[in-house]
């Protein structure tokens, strides 16, 4: 096994990007993700890549558009209110079908929000990250190791689909340090082969493979727009295979924790604690929050499952909408929530679980 190194979430995200072949990064400083651009600023010159600190988020995301259109593996990162400023640019990337990877290290909100960790951007990330009804694969890591793996893989998914990919994490995972095993550095030869495989070398400056340019040109009149939308819809329909979910001790569970990212790792610890007490607890963790693992909830045996505890660092709860959509009132759903500035702890999740157990078991 490769050697494990002790890394901060943000730095691990950046190194994974470099190893996946990212050679263009543009971004604008904001807490709690500053270590990502800081790391790229130091690292990019070593690998012949480009780091730009843009004059704003708007400038940065549009540079990302340009770099991806020109065939570079391009990446950016920001946090919550900064991500709001990315909306237009990301929507343009989705329209032009450009493979970019970007990271939201969530903090408080709405507005400028507390600089401390939160999960207040779930609905924005999964349903509407910009105008125009586009969708993205959104991956939600629960550990620093998953940050690494998801960024690394995110570039492949983006390239495969010619579509943006979002890594949705938060200020706890971005700031904490954990042991990680880093993936191998993609060589220049490998990257050249990948460009060939994904047709990047044939991409026109707006991002489409040559030949599709005319019918997909963003902002074009006539039937062009509808074609763009239909092409996109065809892509989204292929994502059933990409749904990823962790089901932990669900088979005989009577109460189910539903949580993603940082909230999930805390919930999992509590599931183990409750199991040790003989309580049949389990957890469903969406790993792709879009496409959402609706079936994991739909397929539960509601004669057996008495209640679900939705654990989120968001007030009001947001993932609750997706859980409700799948469960359709077939069992009680409680919420255990915290928002920006107040970190979720084991004790608080345990308290939420005890309350649910009292009410349904």
């Amino acid at each position: 096994m490769a050697e494990r190194v002790f890394m901060k979430g943000c730095e691990a995200i950046a190194e994974a990007g470099v190893r996946a072949g990212c050679r263009f990064f543009a971004g604008y400083p904001i807490t709690p993700q500053n270590e990502i651009p800081e790391y790229f600023a130091r690292r990019m010159p070593e690998v012949g890549g480009v780091f730009v600190q843009g004059e704003s988020e708007v400038a940065s995301v549009n540079m990302l558009y340009g770099a991806a259109a020109a065939g570079a593996r391009a990446m950016s990162s920001s946090s919550s209110c900064g991500i709001s400023l990315y909306s237009e640019g990301v929507s343009y990337c989705a329209s032009a079908r450009l493979p970019v990877v970007y990271v939201n290290v969530q903090r408080g909100g709405p507005g400028i929000g507390a600089i401390q960790p939160a999960q207040q951007d779930y609905l924005q990330a999964t349903k509407a990250s910009g105008n125009g009804g586009f969708q993205m694969i959104v991956l939600a890591p629960a550990t620093v190791q998953e940050c690494v793996d998801m960024v690394y893989e995110g570039f492949e998914l983006a390239a495969r689909d010619n579509n943006p990919v979002l890594i949705l994490t938060d200020g706890v995972i971005g700031t904490m340090m954990e042991p990680v095993v880093l993936p191998p550095m993609k060589s220049d030869e490998e990257l050249a082969q990948l460009k060939e495989k994904y047709g990047v070398t044939k991409r026109a400056c707006i991002g489409h493979p040559l030949g599709q340019q005319a019918k997909c040109f963003p902002g074009s009149a006539g039937t062009g727009q509808e074609l763009v939308n239909k092409e996109a819809e065809k892509l989204y329909a292929t994502w059933d295979k990409d749904v990823r979910v962790e089901k932990f001790l669900v088979d005989d569970a009577e109460i189910i924790f539903a949580a993603y990212g940082i909230s999930a790792r805390i919930s999992k610890a509590i599931v183990k604690q409750l199991r040790a007490e003989g309580i049949k607890a389990g957890m469903i963790r969406p790993i792709t929050v879009n496409p959402f693992p609706y079936d994991a909830f739909r397929d539960l045996d509601f004669n057996q499952v008495k209640g679900i505890l939705d654990v989120e660092m968001s007030i009001p709860a947001q993932m609750r909408w997706d859980i409700d959509f799948a469960v359709q009132g077939r069992c009680q759903i409680n919420e255990c929530r915290r928002s920006g500035g107040q970190l979720l702890t084991n004790d608080q999740v345990l308290e939420g679980a005890r309350q649910l157990i009292k009410e349904v078991l």
Partner: protein, 182 residues
């Protein structure tokens, strides 16, 4: 088994370095799971500086915990802010050079060491954190002492001359910690 450690003081005392040294050394020299989470105010020096280290043989849940086995306090305000967060039967490590207030709990073990004064006496006033880490490891055996010594060697691999004084500081702390072990 999971061990939650909270370290607290003010900026400049090396609280973050102490936590990172413990956590990184544990990552490098053991198979244990470990996490480090920093929490600090806007001021680099004089502001509040706390960090959390979790060491476990199983997956780690929350990297932040307000119900800890071990608390290390490097200054007075940290004692008053966090003493309540120690589990009954837990350990409170005190920098007794500057933390002079009485500990108003009788259900925790108090381990005192005048680490600020000791560091000054050693002619290495920045070593107070490494001495305290020694006290901590000497008392708890949270990780074997060799793990930290390797960590010090790794941390200062580009400043070799700093290795002997830091190892010495760590060992001084170890002695104090072991002496106070019941």
């Amino acid at each position: 088994m999971e061990r939650n450690i909270m370290m607290a003081g003010f900026g400049g005392q090396g609280v973050m370095t102490m936590g990172k040294l413990l956590a990184e050394a544990t990552c490098d020299a053991t198979d244990l799971k470990v996490s480090f989470f920093p929490s600090y105010g806007a001021a680099m020096r004089g502001g509040t500086a706390n960090c959390f280290v979790v060491i476990s043989d199983d997956e780690i849940g929350a990297p932040v915990c307000y119900n800890v086995e071990d608390l290390i306090v490097m200054n007075g305000p940290s004692l008053h802010a966090f003493l309540k967060n120690v589990k009954p039967g837990g350990n409170v490590f005190i920098n007794s050079t500057i933390v002079t207030d009485p500990i108003d709990r009788d259900d925790v073990n108090v381990i005192s060491a005048p680490v600020t004064q000791m560091a000054l006496d050693m002619g290495n006033d920045r070593a107070l954190n490494v001495i305290m880490l020694g006290v901590y490891v000497g008392y708890t055996d949270a990780v074997p002492e060799e793990v930290i010594i390797k960590g010090i060697e790794h941390k200062f691999e580009n400043k070799q001359k700093l290795i002997p004084p830091n190892v010495e500081a760590f060992k001084k702390g170890l002695e104090i910690g072991r002496a106070q072990k019941k």
